[in-house]
Structure formats: C-alpha cells, structure tokens
C-alpha cells in the first residue's frame, strides 16, 4: 500500500493560473474581504512521504500558514498589493488576494518531521508518513 494513498480536496476554489477566476464558492467565507484563489498544486507520494508543491506567487514566508489537524491539510497565503498609492491601473490581469486550499490526507503523517520551504513563490511541503504506515517487506523463510 505504498502508493495507493489518496489526497482528496475538501472543496474547490477557482484556480489561479490557467483558469483565472475569483472565488464564488459556497463554503465558509474568509473573514478578510478580498479575492480567494486556489493555488495550482502538484501532489506526489513515495514510500516514505507525501510531497505537496503549490504555486503561490507573491506570498512571503511570514504570510504563509500551513495547518495539519485530523488529517486535513490547510494552506493559506496572503498577498499584500504591491502597488503604491500613486499608481493608476493601465491593464489588470490578476489581483492580489489570498491563496487557500484544503486537502484530506489518507495517510498518517509524522507531524514533528514536516518540512516546508518557500522559494520564488513555490511552496514545497514534505509530509513524512509515520513509521507504521510504511510498507514492510516480509521475508518468507523456507525449510
């Protein structure tokens, strides 16, 4: 059962990137007003861990929250508008807002060993599985 685990998404926010639409979801609302985007995410699994890669351009490490409780992983990143008050819009194709996404993990994760890196707007989150969730090779003896 090394690679048949699943990560399910709790609810779908519109994605930023290819599909670029602000949120119209019916889920619980964020308390701060503003646009909520779902970051484009890659998730893969090895025998020992689950890795999550999420595109969150404009998010700084201090404004990124990662929360894992009761197997629900929540990613929240806030982006402050970079424009100064003196600038006027000429063309606007994206907006600064909040990145938010939740996943349900089927594997048990070793909370103490979670590792998160944020580089150039890409989050890399390593979620190591707890020891007993890893597959064990059973040696069959003969004779």
């Amino acid at each position: 059962m090394s690679t048949d685990g699943t990560t399910r998404e709790m609810r779908a926010e519109p994605q930023k990137g290819a599909v670029h639409q602000p949120s119209r979801s019916n889920g619980p609302e964020q308390t701060r007003p503003g646009v909520v985007y779902s970051p484009a995410t890659d998730i893969f699994e090895t025998e020992n861990s689950i890795t999550v890669l999420a595109d969150m351009p404009g998010v700084q490490a201090a404004d990124l929250q990662i929360d894992l409780r009761e197997s629900v992983l929540t990613l929240t990143g806030r982006v402050a508008a970079p424009e100064s008050g003196y600038e006027s819009d000429v063309l606007r194709e994206y907006r600064s807002g909040t990145f938010f996404r939740q996943f349900t993990l089927s594997e048990r994760i070793d909370q103490a060993k979670i590792d998160a890196k944020l580089n150039d707007g890409v989050l890399r989150l390593e979620l190591p599985k707890v020891e007993r969730a890893r597959p064990r090779q059973i040696v069959v003896k003969t004779g």
Binding site: I43, F44, T46, D89
Partner: protein, 152 residues
C-alpha cells in the same frame, strides 16, 4: 506571442458595431462591479498574467511567474514596446514517485505589450522576488507631464 494594446478607453473605428460593443462591454463590467465581484480584470488566459500601472514618472509591469530561474527570463524594451520571454521548467523528481495530481504548468512563454507612452529603455529595472517579476520602466522625458506656469 500575443500582442495587445493596453491603452484603455480609446475609441476603435473598425466597424459599425464597435461603439455598441464598447458600451456593452462597459455595462457588463459595471454589472460585475455592482454584484460585488472584483472580477473586472481582463483575464486573457495568457501566461504569465500581467498587471500594468503607471505614475507620473514610471510605468510598472508586474507578472506572476512562480518558480522560475531569473536567468531564464529575457526582457527587452524599445520605444513603447516591452517584451517578456522565458521558460518555466518543473524539475523531475529523482525518486520513483506516484502522482496524485499535477496541475502546475510548465513550458515556454512570450508576451509583448504596447505601453501607453514611450519609455527610456536604457533605465529599465527588473526585479524578481517571491515569484513576481516587477519591471520599472521610466517614461521618456518627452512623455512626462509638464507643469505649466501661468503668467499674470
């Protein structure tokens, strides 16, 4: 390569219905605004999404390009045109992995913008931080607004 004009609100005389289309477009935008959506941006689906703003001295172009090598970006400016090209590569994982989902896109991109004013190509500044590329394009002297003193 996509080229678009970014000077808003200038009339277009390319057909008998152009004016009507413009009015319709503005109305739709108005409805969106009234409905409480900030969805007035011109989402083109082109990568990377760009924001262009200006103040008295500069035009600013900001692009969302997460996870790219700054060396992989090529930026050129001439007259009132600025071009942005590059390639986003997602590194292959060295270990054997099984993917649950792959949504992040990779590939080459190229965009050219026509700006509302001439810019001073010699003094363009480009910065890449947190996955956002920011170009500061100083306006050419001739394009800057001038204070006119009224003599009495």
């Amino acid at each position: 390569m996509s080229i678009r004009r970014v000077w808003p609100g200038r009339p277009v005389f390319n057909g008998p219905h152009a004016d009507f289309d413009q009015v319709r477009h503005e109305l739709l935008r108005l409805f969106d605004t009234v409905a409480g959506d900030a969805a007035t941006e011109a989402a083109t689906g082109a990568f990377p999404p760009l924001n262009v703003t200006q103040d008295e001295d500069n035009v600013y172009v900001r692009a969302e390009i997460p996870g790219i090598d700054a060396d992989q970006l090529s930026i050129s400016a001439l007259g009132n045109r600025v071009s942005l090209a590059g390639k986003r590569e997602i590194q292959l994982e060295p270990d054997k992995v099984s993917y649950h989902r792959r949504e992040r896109a990779e590939g080459a991109f190229s965009r050219t913008l026509s700006l509302p004013v001439e810019i001073d190509a010699e003094r363009v500044d480009a910065r890449y931080a947190n996955g956002i590329l920011t170009l500061t394009l100083p306006k050419a002297e001739a394009a800057k607004p001038r204070q006119i003193a009224v003599r009495v």
